[in-house]
Subunit: 273 residues, 2 copies
């Protein structure tokens, strides 16, 4: 079995990222760890997020992964630079690919980002956008109701539409906006509603899609693509209860054959419990 791509996340949100890896890189083996016992990371102090992230990373390094994906915006904002510096394998976060895709897509340089309070207040997207293109006009909007809404399964219908409409009100007033980054891995699940509220003229960028795309670029450049034609292995580990995690996976990955997917629980480091 060829080396796997490792994906870490604070919980289940990163499963939308894993889904994109399965779709865009169907020959690759994947190892996913979701820290469901300690999510969400958003409200936690920086040092704690970095510690928890390292525990997941060490768990995956023991399994000899060839690339690390940080599928959590908060963990990317806090730990990406350190992980890139200290690991010898390529490390990719979800923020930079989303920012780069927005720069490609925008025609008037007016770009919005929605995410958790942690992600938006960290200023990470604005920094990345302007690192590459100084004249980007940036609008950040925290959307705290979206994650609980998605986790409760309110992902379509009138109630969902009403919540999204209310929360996005300040963005709709930005008439120049032509591109919107979904800066949280839960949001792609309600992308159709966000598109309906914002209108079809707005290009919507899902960080997960763009992260899988960039991982493909880097793997190709470094001659690390898996060219085995056999069935790949996709292993999902949760630090919390297995049952809810498994339900989420089966709902999200219904088009992939079950036999490819293994779902397990892990305790990570001893100090965790």
């Amino acid at each position: 079995m060829k080396k796997a791509i490792g994906i870490i996340d604070s919980g289940v949100g990163g499963l939308t990222v894993a889904h994109e890896f399965m779709r865009q890189l169907p020959k690759e083996n994947l190892l996913y760890v979701g820290d469901t016992a300690r999510c969400p990371y958003g409200p936690r102090p920086r040092e704690e997020v970095i510690d928890y992230t390292w525990e997941m990373v060490e768990f995956l390094l023991d399994k000899d992964i060839k690339m690390l994906i940080i599928a959590c915006n908060t963990a990317t904002a806090f730990a990406l630079d350190q992980l890139k510096r200290e690991l010898s394998i390529p490390v990719i976060g979800v923020i930079q690919p989303g920012a780069r895709a927005a720069i490609k897509v925008t025609r008037n340089n007016h770009v919005g980002v929605i995410g958790t309070e942690g992600t938006i207040y960290s200023g990470a997207y604005e920094k990345e956008l302007q690192k590459i293109k100084s004249d980007i006009h940036y609008y950040g909007l925290p959307c705290p109701p979206f994650v609980p809404m998605v986790e409760k399964g309110i992902i379509s219908g009138n109630e969902a539409l009403k919540i999204v409409d209310t929360v996005l009100e300040p963005l709709k007033e930005q008439e120049d906006l032509d591109t919107l980054i979904l800066g949280c891995t839960h949001y792609p699940i309600i992308k159709p509603i966000i598109q309906e509220i914002m209108g079809n003229e707005i290009s919507i960028i899902s960080s997960g899609e763009e992260t899988a795309r960039e991982a493909s670029t880097i793997l190709d450049m470094q001659h690390l693509l898996n060219d085995d034609e056999g069935t790949p292995e996709h292993k999902f580990y949760a630090t919390g209860e297995r049952h809810v995690f498994a339900q989420m996976i089966h709902r999200l990955f219904c088009q992939f054959p079950d036999k490819q997917i293994q779902i397990m629980q892990t305790k990570l480091a001893k100090r965790m419990y």
Copy 2:
């Protein structure tokens, strides 16, 4: 002055790629060489294309570029693997980024590619698509009338519409097609007409846009992005007549300030003339 990105092309088609670099990576210095004296490369034998490509590459290596972009589909198909093997700087062609973008965008895995006869008959796009995703259904269509049409300036209006409609007829019959790659650097100039003929449900991928995006990813990963805030230098060299080349550049790059752009003629290697 920080090191530049080098772009080589058989002539003027690659200017659409350079344009995307100026838009998506506005802080980067660029050196472009177009082999206008010997274009098109399409009908030339493989060994000749490889020789000419190396002459441009050596010209740019002497100027100490940090990355090489092969903005010509034919040169990518014939010379990319060799250049990647032999150069110590990152080398990016236009075929792989287009293929990867199509894999990201397609929802039903039915992908079309249009290009010159050389590009389509080389099978390079099909090979790249299937290297990553084996179950892609590929439809390749050579469109010989498009390059002369664009070079004559027939890029809008009824005549252009009629030509494109006739040439794309076989693709329109492929009802499952949801994604189309413009596998020739001239084609983005007639993208609006291609979209009109193919319908708005088809996602159209411009290899140039995607190549600039992937270059940005690789530069970022290798810590090679230019963070100077000064005005970048964009130098364009043609092996043929300066005047026509300059006209094309001024038409295409009208939104960029003239002072950034220098246009020169070069003889490349001695053996050229």
